[in-house]
Protein backbone atom coordinates (compact mmCIF):
# COMPACT_ATOMS: atom_id res chain seq x y z
CA UNK A 1 0.00 0.00 0.00
CA UNK A 2 1.48 3.40 -0.90
CA UNK A 3 2.63 5.33 2.11
CA UNK A 4 0.37 8.32 1.55
CA UNK A 5 -2.67 6.08 1.32
CA UNK A 6 -1.68 4.31 4.51
CA UNK A 7 -1.10 7.55 6.39
CA UNK A 8 -4.39 9.01 5.24
CA UNK A 9 -6.19 5.84 6.26
CA UNK A 10 -4.67 5.98 9.74
CA UNK A 11 -5.56 9.64 10.15
CA UNK A 12 -9.08 9.11 8.90
CA UNK A 13 -9.62 6.27 11.36
CA UNK A 14 -8.20 8.41 14.15
CA UNK A 15 -10.52 11.27 13.33
CA UNK A 16 -13.54 9.03 13.16
CA UNK A 17 -12.78 6.93 16.19
CA UNK A 18 -12.69 9.52 18.95
CA UNK A 19 -9.87 7.52 20.47
CA UNK A 20 -12.03 5.22 22.55
CA UNK A 21 -14.84 6.28 24.84
CA UNK A 22 -16.38 4.59 27.82
CA UNK A 23 -19.86 3.24 28.06
CA UNK A 24 -22.47 5.97 27.89
CA UNK A 25 -24.38 6.70 31.04
CA UNK A 26 -27.95 5.42 30.77
CA UNK A 27 -29.62 8.22 32.60
CA UNK A 28 -33.08 9.71 32.64
CA UNK A 29 -33.33 13.31 31.42
CA UNK A 30 -33.19 16.12 33.93
CA UNK A 31 -36.60 17.11 35.24
CA UNK A 32 -38.81 17.81 38.21
CA UNK A 33 -38.69 15.40 41.12
CA UNK A 34 -42.38 14.49 41.09
CA UNK A 35 -44.67 14.16 44.07
CA UNK A 36 -45.00 10.47 44.84
CA UNK A 37 -48.06 8.32 44.37
CA UNK A 38 -48.59 6.08 47.39
CA UNK A 39 -49.13 6.39 51.11
CA UNK A 40 -50.86 9.14 53.06
CA UNK A 41 -50.83 12.83 52.30
CA UNK A 42 -48.41 15.01 54.20
CA UNK A 43 -49.49 15.52 57.81
CA UNK A 44 -49.29 18.77 59.71
CA UNK A 45 -46.73 17.30 62.11
CA UNK A 46 -43.48 18.39 60.58
CA UNK A 47 -40.08 18.44 62.26
CA UNK A 48 -37.03 20.29 60.93
CA UNK A 49 -33.72 18.44 60.68
CA UNK A 50 -30.75 20.78 60.32
CA UNK A 51 -27.67 19.82 58.38
CA UNK A 52 -24.19 20.91 59.47
CA UNK A 53 -20.80 21.00 57.80
CA UNK A 54 -17.94 19.25 59.59
CA UNK A 55 -16.84 22.60 61.06
CA UNK A 56 -20.23 23.00 62.73
CA UNK A 57 -21.73 25.65 60.48
CA UNK A 58 -25.33 25.09 59.43
CA UNK A 59 -25.61 24.50 55.72
CA UNK A 60 -29.16 23.30 55.18
CA UNK A 61 -32.27 21.63 56.47
CA UNK A 62 -35.14 19.34 55.61
CA UNK A 63 -38.55 18.58 57.08
CA UNK A 64 -39.66 15.22 58.44
CA UNK A 65 -43.30 14.19 58.51
CA UNK A 66 -43.54 12.78 62.03
CA UNK A 67 -46.92 11.32 61.18
CA UNK A 68 -45.13 8.98 58.77
CA UNK A 69 -41.47 8.81 59.90
CA UNK A 70 -40.15 7.79 63.29
CA UNK A 71 -36.66 9.14 64.09
CA UNK A 72 -34.37 6.33 65.26
CA UNK A 73 -31.19 8.35 65.54
CA UNK A 74 -30.12 11.99 65.41
CA UNK A 75 -26.61 13.31 64.97
CA UNK A 76 -24.69 13.63 68.23
CA UNK A 77 -22.95 16.77 67.00
CA UNK A 78 -21.68 18.55 63.92
CA UNK A 79 -18.77 16.15 63.48
CA UNK A 80 -21.15 13.20 63.23
CA UNK A 81 -21.44 12.26 59.54
CA UNK A 82 -24.68 10.40 60.19
CA UNK A 83 -27.40 13.05 60.43
CA UNK A 84 -30.36 10.78 61.07
CA UNK A 85 -31.92 7.35 60.79
CA UNK A 86 -35.64 7.19 60.08
CA UNK A 87 -38.20 4.42 59.74
CA UNK A 88 -41.74 4.67 58.47
CA UNK A 89 -44.45 3.75 60.94
CA UNK A 90 -46.80 2.89 58.05
CA UNK A 91 -44.65 1.10 55.50
CA UNK A 92 -41.39 -0.80 55.01
CA UNK A 93 -39.50 2.38 54.14
CA UNK A 94 -36.28 3.10 56.04
CA UNK A 95 -33.99 6.08 55.53
CA UNK A 96 -30.50 7.09 56.47
CA UNK A 97 -29.26 10.64 56.06
CA UNK A 98 -25.49 10.97 55.78
CA UNK A 99 -23.12 13.84 55.02
CA UNK A 100 -21.01 13.55 51.87
CA UNK A 101 -18.40 15.62 50.11
CA UNK A 102 -18.19 16.39 46.42
CA UNK A 103 -20.41 15.70 43.47
CA UNK A 104 -23.80 14.09 44.18
CA UNK A 105 -23.71 11.87 41.08
CA UNK A 106 -20.39 10.36 42.17
CA UNK A 107 -21.57 9.27 45.60
CA UNK A 108 -24.99 8.02 44.50
CA UNK A 109 -23.77 6.00 41.53
CA UNK A 110 -20.97 4.59 43.68
CA UNK A 111 -23.44 3.23 46.23
CA UNK A 112 -25.59 1.65 43.52
CA UNK A 113 -22.50 0.09 41.93
CA UNK A 114 -21.44 -1.39 45.27
CA UNK A 115 -24.82 -3.11 45.62
CA UNK A 116 -24.54 -4.47 42.09
CA UNK A 117 -21.03 -5.80 42.64
CA UNK A 118 -21.34 -7.19 46.15
CA UNK A 119 -24.98 -8.16 46.57
CA UNK A 120 -26.26 -8.96 43.09
CA UNK A 121 -28.50 -5.93 42.77
CA UNK A 122 -29.66 -4.69 39.39
CA UNK A 123 -29.03 -1.01 38.84
CA UNK A 124 -31.99 0.99 37.61
CA UNK A 125 -32.65 4.49 36.43
CA UNK A 126 -30.43 7.34 37.50
CA UNK A 127 -30.52 11.06 36.86
CA UNK A 128 -30.76 14.62 38.09
CA UNK A 129 -34.09 15.89 39.45
CA UNK A 130 -34.98 19.32 40.83
CA UNK A 131 -37.03 19.73 44.01
CA UNK A 132 -39.42 22.56 44.92
CA UNK A 133 -36.61 24.47 46.62
CA UNK A 134 -34.74 24.60 43.31
CA UNK A 135 -32.11 22.21 44.63
CA UNK A 136 -30.70 19.71 42.14
CA UNK A 137 -30.85 16.14 43.43
CA UNK A 138 -29.25 13.10 41.88
CA UNK A 139 -31.07 9.78 42.22
CA UNK A 140 -29.85 6.27 41.49
CA UNK A 141 -32.00 3.17 41.89
CA UNK A 142 -31.18 -0.48 42.47
CA UNK A 143 -33.21 -3.57 43.30
CA UNK A 144 -32.77 -7.21 44.19
CA UNK A 145 -35.93 -9.30 44.51
CA UNK A 146 -37.89 -7.69 47.38
CA UNK A 147 -35.16 -5.26 48.30
CA UNK A 148 -35.62 -1.86 46.65
CA UNK A 149 -33.20 1.00 47.12
CA UNK A 150 -33.05 4.58 45.97
CA UNK A 151 -30.12 6.87 46.72
CA UNK A 152 -30.70 10.61 46.58
CA UNK A 153 -27.71 12.92 46.74
CA UNK A 154 -27.41 16.70 46.78
CA UNK A 155 -24.64 19.22 47.14
CA UNK A 156 -25.89 21.67 49.74
CA UNK A 157 -23.15 24.23 50.25
CA UNK A 158 -19.61 24.31 48.92
CA UNK A 159 -18.38 20.76 48.66
CA UNK A 160 -20.66 19.53 51.48
CA UNK A 161 -23.83 17.64 50.71
CA UNK A 162 -26.03 14.80 51.80
CA UNK A 163 -26.99 11.31 50.69
CA UNK A 164 -30.39 9.92 51.58
CA UNK A 165 -30.39 6.14 51.31
CA UNK A 166 -33.89 4.72 51.17
CA UNK A 167 -34.70 1.04 51.44
CA UNK A 168 -38.07 -0.73 51.21
CA UNK A 169 -39.46 -4.19 50.62
CA UNK A 170 -41.80 -2.91 47.93
CA UNK A 171 -41.21 -0.50 45.09
CA UNK A 172 -44.45 1.28 45.96
CA UNK A 173 -43.14 2.30 49.38
CA UNK A 174 -40.37 4.23 47.66
CA UNK A 175 -43.09 6.29 45.95
CA UNK A 176 -44.63 7.39 49.25
CA UNK A 177 -45.87 10.98 49.25
CA UNK A 178 -44.25 11.75 52.67
CA UNK A 179 -40.90 10.55 51.29
CA UNK A 180 -41.21 12.90 48.35
CA UNK A 181 -42.27 15.63 50.77
CA UNK A 182 -39.03 15.11 52.64
CA UNK A 183 -37.02 15.29 49.40
CA UNK A 184 -38.82 18.48 48.36
CA UNK A 185 -38.08 20.10 51.71
CA UNK A 186 -34.32 19.66 51.36
CA UNK A 187 -32.67 23.06 50.97
CA UNK A 188 -29.50 24.98 51.64
CA UNK A 189 -29.37 27.87 54.08
Amino acid sequence: MPFKTTLLTVLALALLSGCGGGTDLKETPKGDLGTGSTGPSLSSTQSTQTLAAPDGTWIGSLSLDLGYFTPLYSAAGPTDDLYALLASSQSSLQLSLVRILGRPDTACRYQAALLARDQGFTTGEAGFKTNRQGLELYQARASNNADFRVFTCAKIKGQVGVILSAQASSAADLEAIPFYGLLHSLKGL
Binding site: M1, F3, T6, L7, T9, V10, L11, L13, A14, L15, S17, G18, C19, G20, G21, G22, T23, D24, L25, I100, L101, G102, R103, D105, T106, A107, R109, Y110, Q111, A112, A113, L114, A116, R117, D118, T123, Q159
Partner: protein, 383 residues
Protein backbone atom coordinates in the same frame (compact mmCIF):
# COMPACT_ATOMS: atom_id res chain seq x y z
CA UNK B 1 5.83 -15.21 47.58
CA UNK B 2 5.21 -14.74 43.92
CA UNK B 3 4.82 -17.87 41.81
CA UNK B 4 4.76 -17.80 38.06
CA UNK B 5 1.68 -19.37 36.60
CA UNK B 6 2.59 -22.99 36.12
CA UNK B 7 1.42 -23.65 32.62
CA UNK B 8 1.13 -20.96 30.01
CA UNK B 9 4.06 -18.76 30.87
CA UNK B 10 6.52 -21.57 31.51
CA UNK B 11 5.62 -23.25 28.25
CA UNK B 12 5.90 -19.99 26.40
CA UNK B 13 9.33 -19.35 27.89
CA UNK B 14 10.60 -22.81 26.99
CA UNK B 15 9.20 -22.49 23.50
CA UNK B 16 10.75 -19.10 23.07
CA UNK B 17 14.16 -20.19 24.25
CA UNK B 18 14.06 -23.29 22.06
CA UNK B 19 13.11 -21.35 18.96
CA UNK B 20 15.70 -18.72 19.75
CA UNK B 21 18.34 -21.40 20.17
CA UNK B 22 17.60 -22.87 16.75
CA UNK B 23 17.27 -19.64 14.85
CA UNK B 24 19.72 -17.20 16.35
CA UNK B 25 22.79 -19.19 15.31
CA UNK B 26 24.81 -18.87 18.42
CA UNK B 27 23.06 -15.83 19.83
CA UNK B 28 21.21 -18.15 22.13
CA UNK B 29 20.00 -15.65 24.70
CA UNK B 30 21.04 -12.25 23.46
CA UNK B 31 20.16 -11.36 19.88
CA UNK B 32 22.35 -8.72 18.32
CA UNK B 33 20.80 -5.26 18.23
CA UNK B 34 19.50 -4.30 14.79
CA UNK B 35 20.51 -0.73 15.55
CA UNK B 36 21.92 1.25 18.42
CA UNK B 37 19.99 3.86 20.32
CA UNK B 38 22.86 6.30 19.94
CA UNK B 39 22.57 6.08 16.15
CA UNK B 40 19.03 7.35 16.00
CA UNK B 41 18.32 9.83 13.24
CA UNK B 42 18.28 13.44 14.39
CA UNK B 43 15.14 15.54 14.57
CA UNK B 44 12.61 12.85 13.80
CA UNK B 45 9.11 14.02 14.57
CA UNK B 46 5.50 13.20 14.03
CA UNK B 47 2.60 15.56 14.62
CA UNK B 48 -0.86 14.01 14.52
CA UNK B 49 -3.84 16.35 14.37
CA UNK B 50 -7.11 14.81 15.52
CA UNK B 51 -10.69 15.91 15.77
CA UNK B 52 -13.12 13.93 17.86
CA UNK B 53 -16.72 14.21 18.90
CA UNK B 54 -17.77 12.73 22.20
CA UNK B 55 -21.47 12.41 23.06
CA UNK B 56 -22.53 15.09 25.51
CA UNK B 57 -19.18 16.84 25.42
CA UNK B 58 -19.09 18.33 21.96
CA UNK B 59 -16.34 18.47 19.42
CA UNK B 60 -12.73 18.98 20.35
CA UNK B 61 -9.55 19.25 18.39
CA UNK B 62 -6.11 18.28 19.43
CA UNK B 63 -2.63 17.49 18.35
CA UNK B 64 -0.38 14.63 19.40
CA UNK B 65 3.31 15.15 18.78
CA UNK B 66 6.42 13.10 19.32
CA UNK B 67 9.99 14.23 18.72
CA UNK B 68 13.13 12.12 18.81
CA UNK B 69 16.83 12.99 19.21
CA UNK B 70 16.27 16.71 19.09
CA UNK B 71 19.25 18.52 17.51
CA UNK B 72 21.33 15.41 18.07
CA UNK B 73 21.28 15.87 21.85
CA UNK B 74 19.62 12.51 22.42
CA UNK B 75 16.64 14.25 24.03
CA UNK B 76 13.13 13.11 23.12
CA UNK B 77 9.97 15.10 23.67
CA UNK B 78 6.23 14.59 23.42
CA UNK B 79 3.35 17.01 23.50
CA UNK B 80 -0.41 16.67 23.55
CA UNK B 81 -2.74 19.65 23.31
CA UNK B 82 -6.52 19.55 22.94
CA UNK B 83 -9.33 22.08 23.30
CA UNK B 84 -13.07 22.11 22.78
CA UNK B 85 -14.38 24.38 20.10
CA UNK B 86 -18.04 23.50 20.17
CA UNK B 87 -20.49 22.14 22.68
CA UNK B 88 -21.14 23.10 26.27
CA UNK B 89 -18.13 21.43 27.79
CA UNK B 90 -14.77 22.96 28.55
CA UNK B 91 -12.17 20.36 27.69
CA UNK B 92 -8.53 21.29 28.02
CA UNK B 93 -5.64 18.87 27.76
CA UNK B 94 -2.02 19.95 27.99
CA UNK B 95 0.66 17.34 28.43
CA UNK B 96 4.38 17.65 27.86
CA UNK B 97 7.22 15.21 28.29
CA UNK B 98 10.98 15.51 28.06
CA UNK B 99 12.78 12.20 27.87
CA UNK B 100 16.32 10.94 27.63
CA UNK B 101 17.77 14.18 28.99
CA UNK B 102 21.42 13.24 29.56
CA UNK B 103 23.10 13.86 32.88
CA UNK B 104 26.79 13.87 33.66
CA UNK B 105 27.26 10.11 33.99
CA UNK B 106 27.14 8.07 30.76
CA UNK B 107 23.90 6.07 30.68
CA UNK B 108 22.19 8.27 33.26
CA UNK B 109 19.24 10.28 31.99
CA UNK B 110 16.20 11.95 33.42
CA UNK B 111 12.61 12.13 32.24
CA UNK B 112 9.99 14.71 33.19
CA UNK B 113 6.30 14.85 32.36
CA UNK B 114 3.71 17.46 33.16
CA UNK B 115 0.01 17.16 32.48
CA UNK B 116 -2.80 19.64 33.10
CA UNK B 117 -6.05 17.93 32.23
CA UNK B 118 -9.63 19.13 32.42
CA UNK B 119 -12.66 17.29 31.18
CA UNK B 120 -16.28 17.78 32.07
CA UNK B 121 -16.26 14.36 33.67
CA UNK B 122 -13.99 11.44 34.20
CA UNK B 123 -15.41 8.01 34.65
CA UNK B 124 -14.34 5.18 36.84
CA UNK B 125 -15.42 1.65 37.58
CA UNK B 126 -15.51 -0.16 40.88
CA UNK B 127 -12.52 -2.43 41.44
CA UNK B 128 -13.18 -6.15 41.60
CA UNK B 129 -13.74 -9.11 39.33
CA UNK B 130 -17.50 -8.62 39.66
CA UNK B 131 -17.35 -4.91 38.93
CA UNK B 132 -20.57 -3.97 37.11
CA UNK B 133 -20.45 -2.24 33.75
CA UNK B 134 -21.60 0.93 35.45
CA UNK B 135 -19.72 4.18 35.16
CA UNK B 136 -19.11 6.39 38.16
CA UNK B 137 -18.45 10.01 37.15
CA UNK B 138 -16.11 12.31 38.99
CA UNK B 139 -14.62 15.72 38.40
CA UNK B 140 -12.24 15.49 35.47
CA UNK B 141 -9.61 17.92 36.58
CA UNK B 142 -6.07 17.18 37.67
CA UNK B 143 -2.40 17.99 37.32
CA UNK B 144 0.13 15.24 36.93
CA UNK B 145 3.88 15.47 37.46
CA UNK B 146 6.32 12.67 36.71
CA UNK B 147 10.04 12.65 37.37
CA UNK B 148 12.21 9.68 36.54
CA UNK B 149 15.97 9.33 36.60
CA UNK B 150 17.09 6.25 34.68
CA UNK B 151 20.34 4.38 34.35
CA UNK B 152 20.96 2.20 31.32
CA UNK B 153 23.91 0.08 30.34
CA UNK B 154 24.94 -2.69 27.94
CA UNK B 155 23.25 -1.25 24.85
CA UNK B 156 20.20 -0.42 26.97
CA UNK B 157 19.70 -4.07 27.75
CA UNK B 158 19.67 -3.29 31.46
CA UNK B 159 17.61 -0.36 32.67
CA UNK B 160 16.94 0.88 36.17
CA UNK B 161 14.29 3.53 36.79
CA UNK B 162 13.10 5.46 39.80
CA UNK B 163 9.68 6.96 39.09
CA UNK B 164 8.21 9.71 41.26
CA UNK B 165 4.66 10.87 40.59
CA UNK B 166 2.75 13.75 42.11
CA UNK B 167 -0.96 13.77 41.37
CA UNK B 168 -3.15 16.69 42.35
CA UNK B 169 -6.76 16.47 41.37
CA UNK B 170 -10.10 14.87 41.97
CA UNK B 171 -10.58 11.21 42.64
CA UNK B 172 -13.08 8.89 44.26
CA UNK B 173 -12.23 8.09 47.86
CA UNK B 174 -12.95 4.85 49.71
CA UNK B 175 -16.48 5.94 50.61
CA UNK B 176 -17.37 6.91 47.07
CA UNK B 177 -16.97 10.67 47.36
CA UNK B 178 -15.49 13.00 44.77
CA UNK B 179 -12.67 14.73 46.61
CA UNK B 180 -9.72 16.95 45.71
CA UNK B 181 -6.45 15.49 46.88
CA UNK B 182 -2.75 15.67 46.20
CA UNK B 183 -0.33 12.86 46.84
CA UNK B 184 3.03 11.44 45.82
CA UNK B 185 3.70 7.88 44.76
CA UNK B 186 6.93 6.23 43.75
CA UNK B 187 8.14 3.00 42.26
CA UNK B 188 11.33 1.41 41.05
CA UNK B 189 11.69 -0.66 37.93
CA UNK B 190 14.35 -3.02 36.64
CA UNK B 191 14.24 -4.12 33.00
CA UNK B 192 16.31 -6.78 31.28
CA UNK B 193 15.94 -6.35 27.53
CA UNK B 194 17.44 -9.26 25.62
CA UNK B 195 15.84 -8.36 22.31
CA UNK B 196 17.14 -7.16 18.98
CA UNK B 197 15.52 -3.71 19.22
CA UNK B 198 14.34 -1.54 22.09
CA UNK B 199 11.43 -0.03 20.13
CA UNK B 200 10.19 -2.77 17.82
CA UNK B 201 11.63 -6.10 18.91
CA UNK B 202 11.46 -8.96 16.42
CA UNK B 203 13.18 -11.60 18.53
CA UNK B 204 14.34 -12.09 22.05
CA UNK B 205 13.06 -11.76 25.58
CA UNK B 206 12.26 -8.71 27.68
CA UNK B 207 11.64 -9.03 31.40
CA UNK B 208 10.91 -6.34 33.93
CA UNK B 209 10.01 -6.04 37.57
CA UNK B 210 8.67 -3.02 39.39
CA UNK B 211 7.82 -2.37 42.99
CA UNK B 212 6.22 0.53 44.79
CA UNK B 213 8.57 2.55 46.99
CA UNK B 214 8.08 4.90 49.89
CA UNK B 215 7.35 8.32 48.42
CA UNK B 216 8.12 11.67 50.02
CA UNK B 217 5.28 13.80 51.34
CA UNK B 218 6.81 16.86 49.74
CA UNK B 219 9.06 17.35 46.74
CA UNK B 220 9.75 19.99 44.09
CA UNK B 221 6.76 18.49 42.27
CA UNK B 222 4.34 19.42 45.08
CA UNK B 223 3.17 18.78 48.62
CA UNK B 224 0.68 16.17 49.74
CA UNK B 225 -2.72 17.38 50.89
CA UNK B 226 -3.84 16.53 54.40
CA UNK B 227 -6.61 14.30 53.06
CA UNK B 228 -4.47 12.25 50.74
CA UNK B 229 -5.11 8.89 52.40
CA UNK B 230 -7.22 7.60 49.53
CA UNK B 231 -4.42 8.17 47.08
CA UNK B 232 -1.54 7.46 49.39
CA UNK B 233 -1.78 4.15 51.16
CA UNK B 234 0.45 1.68 52.92
CA UNK B 235 -0.19 -0.84 50.21
CA UNK B 236 2.77 -2.26 48.34
CA UNK B 237 2.39 -3.21 44.71
CA UNK B 238 4.76 -5.38 42.73
CA UNK B 239 4.45 -6.19 39.06
CA UNK B 240 6.15 -8.62 36.73
CA UNK B 241 6.29 -8.32 32.96
CA UNK B 242 7.60 -10.81 30.43
CA UNK B 243 7.64 -10.36 26.66
CA UNK B 244 8.77 -13.00 24.20
CA UNK B 245 9.35 -12.12 20.56
CA UNK B 246 9.53 -14.97 18.08
CA UNK B 247 10.34 -14.51 14.37
CA UNK B 248 7.89 -17.06 13.01
CA UNK B 249 8.01 -16.17 9.32
CA UNK B 250 9.54 -13.64 7.00
CA UNK B 251 8.73 -10.16 8.38
CA UNK B 252 6.39 -11.73 10.88
CA UNK B 253 6.86 -11.74 14.63
CA UNK B 254 4.78 -13.48 17.24
CA UNK B 255 4.86 -11.40 20.40
CA UNK B 256 3.76 -13.11 23.61
CA UNK B 257 3.33 -11.03 26.71
CA UNK B 258 2.37 -11.80 30.27
CA UNK B 259 1.94 -9.27 33.06
CA UNK B 260 1.08 -9.91 36.67
CA UNK B 261 0.68 -7.46 39.52
CA UNK B 262 0.05 -8.06 43.17
CA UNK B 263 -0.78 -5.68 45.98
CA UNK B 264 -0.06 -6.36 49.62
CA UNK B 265 -0.77 -4.41 52.77
CA UNK B 266 -3.65 -3.19 54.83
CA UNK B 267 -7.15 -3.32 53.48
CA UNK B 268 -7.89 -0.32 51.30
CA UNK B 269 -11.62 -0.92 51.39
CA UNK B 270 -13.17 -0.07 48.07
CA UNK B 271 -10.71 2.68 47.22
CA UNK B 272 -10.37 3.39 43.55
CA UNK B 273 -7.11 3.19 41.71
CA UNK B 274 -5.19 0.80 43.92
CA UNK B 275 -3.73 -2.53 42.92
CA UNK B 276 -3.29 -3.72 39.40
CA UNK B 277 -5.27 -3.78 36.21
CA UNK B 278 -6.09 -6.37 33.58
CA UNK B 279 -5.04 -4.23 30.64
CA UNK B 280 -7.19 -5.44 27.82
CA UNK B 281 -7.55 -3.24 24.78
CA UNK B 282 -11.15 -4.34 24.23
CA UNK B 283 -12.22 -2.62 27.46
CA UNK B 284 -11.95 0.99 28.64
CA UNK B 285 -8.92 1.81 30.76
CA UNK B 286 -9.50 0.94 34.40
CA UNK B 287 -12.37 -1.44 33.65
CA UNK B 288 -10.86 -4.36 35.63
CA UNK B 289 -8.78 -3.57 38.71
CA UNK B 290 -8.11 -5.32 41.99
CA UNK B 291 -5.30 -6.34 44.34
CA UNK B 292 -4.14 -9.03 41.95
CA UNK B 293 -4.29 -8.73 38.19
CA UNK B 294 -2.87 -10.52 35.19
CA UNK B 295 -2.95 -10.00 31.47
CA UNK B 296 -1.74 -12.33 28.72
CA UNK B 297 -1.42 -11.21 25.10
CA UNK B 298 -0.56 -12.96 21.86
CA UNK B 299 0.07 -10.56 19.00
CA UNK B 300 1.18 -11.24 15.45
CA UNK B 301 3.07 -8.35 13.84
CA UNK B 302 3.66 -8.31 10.10
CA UNK B 303 5.90 -5.53 8.82
CA UNK B 304 5.75 -4.15 5.29
CA UNK B 305 9.23 -2.75 4.76
CA UNK B 306 9.61 0.80 3.52
CA UNK B 307 12.82 2.71 3.10
CA UNK B 308 12.49 6.37 2.39
CA UNK B 309 12.68 9.72 4.03
CA UNK B 310 9.53 11.63 4.83
CA UNK B 311 9.89 15.39 4.64
CA UNK B 312 6.62 17.06 5.42
CA UNK B 313 5.12 19.54 7.80
CA UNK B 314 3.60 16.82 10.00
CA UNK B 315 6.13 14.03 9.73
CA UNK B 316 9.90 14.15 9.45
CA UNK B 317 11.98 11.00 9.60
CA UNK B 318 12.84 7.76 7.95
CA UNK B 319 9.95 5.41 7.40
CA UNK B 320 11.20 1.90 8.16
CA UNK B 321 7.94 0.12 7.75
CA UNK B 322 4.22 -0.15 8.14
CA UNK B 323 3.22 -2.84 10.57
CA UNK B 324 -0.07 -4.70 10.63
CA UNK B 325 -1.04 -6.59 13.75
CA UNK B 326 -3.68 -8.93 15.05
CA UNK B 327 -3.98 -9.74 18.71
CA UNK B 328 -5.88 -11.83 21.20
CA UNK B 329 -5.64 -11.16 24.90
CA UNK B 330 -7.14 -12.32 28.13
CA UNK B 331 -6.89 -11.27 31.71
CA UNK B 332 -8.57 -11.26 35.09
CA UNK B 333 -8.37 -9.62 38.48
CA UNK B 334 -8.91 -11.05 41.93
CA UNK B 335 -9.00 -9.82 45.54
CA UNK B 336 -6.97 -12.88 46.59
CA UNK B 337 -3.96 -14.64 45.16
CA UNK B 338 -5.39 -17.96 44.13
CA UNK B 339 -6.57 -19.86 41.08
CA UNK B 340 -9.48 -17.47 40.59
CA UNK B 341 -7.03 -15.05 38.99
CA UNK B 342 -6.65 -17.52 36.13
CA UNK B 343 -10.28 -18.58 35.75
CA UNK B 344 -13.21 -17.03 33.89
CA UNK B 345 -10.88 -14.67 32.12
CA UNK B 346 -12.02 -11.65 30.16
CA UNK B 347 -11.02 -11.75 26.52
CA UNK B 348 -10.55 -9.21 23.81
CA UNK B 349 -9.47 -9.34 20.20
CA UNK B 350 -8.37 -6.76 17.71
CA UNK B 351 -6.26 -5.52 14.87
CA UNK B 352 -3.80 -2.70 14.60
CA UNK B 353 -1.75 -0.66 12.18
CA UNK B 354 1.54 0.99 13.07
CA UNK B 355 3.91 3.38 11.35
CA UNK B 356 7.56 2.70 12.18
CA UNK B 357 9.36 6.01 11.78
CA UNK B 358 12.86 5.56 13.15
CA UNK B 359 12.50 5.42 16.95
CA UNK B 360 8.84 6.46 16.95
CA UNK B 361 5.93 4.10 16.44
CA UNK B 362 2.48 5.51 15.81
CA UNK B 363 0.06 2.81 16.85
CA UNK B 364 -3.66 2.55 16.14
CA UNK B 365 -5.43 -0.46 17.63
CA UNK B 366 -9.07 -1.42 17.26
CA UNK B 367 -10.26 -4.03 19.75
CA UNK B 368 -13.51 -5.57 20.80
CA UNK B 369 -14.76 -7.46 23.84
CA UNK B 370 -18.11 -8.45 25.27
CA UNK B 371 -18.88 -4.87 26.30
CA UNK B 372 -18.24 -3.29 22.91
CA UNK B 373 -15.39 -1.94 20.78
CA UNK B 374 -12.54 0.34 21.82
CA UNK B 375 -9.99 2.37 19.87
CA UNK B 376 -6.47 3.26 20.97
CA UNK B 377 -4.23 5.78 19.23
CA UNK B 378 -0.87 5.80 20.98
CA UNK B 379 2.84 6.26 20.49
CA UNK B 380 5.06 3.13 20.70
CA UNK B 381 4.27 -0.47 21.50
CA UNK B 382 2.61 -1.34 24.77
CA UNK B 383 5.10 -4.23 25.12
Amino acid sequence: MFQWPKTGLTLALLFCLTVQGFTAQGQFLVPERRRLFENRQENVYMVIPAVASLPGLGVFAGVLGSFSNIMGTGVDAAVTEARTFSGSSDIRVSAYALREVPLFVPGLTVEYWFGDIQFTDYFSYLPGRDSPNYLIPYTGKFKYYFFSPSYRLWERRIEINYNLVFFKGYSIDSSGQDTLQGAHSANGRLTLDLTDDWVDPAKGVRLSYSTSLTAPHSSPLGTDSSSSSALRSDLQTKSYHAGFYLPVYDRTTLALYQELSETWGKDAGNAQGFGGEARLRGYPAGRWTDRFAQTGIAEVRYTLPYNFEIESLLVHGHLDGVQLAAFAEQGQVSPTRDSSLWSNQHQSFGVGARLLIDAIILRLDLATADEGPQTHLTINHAF
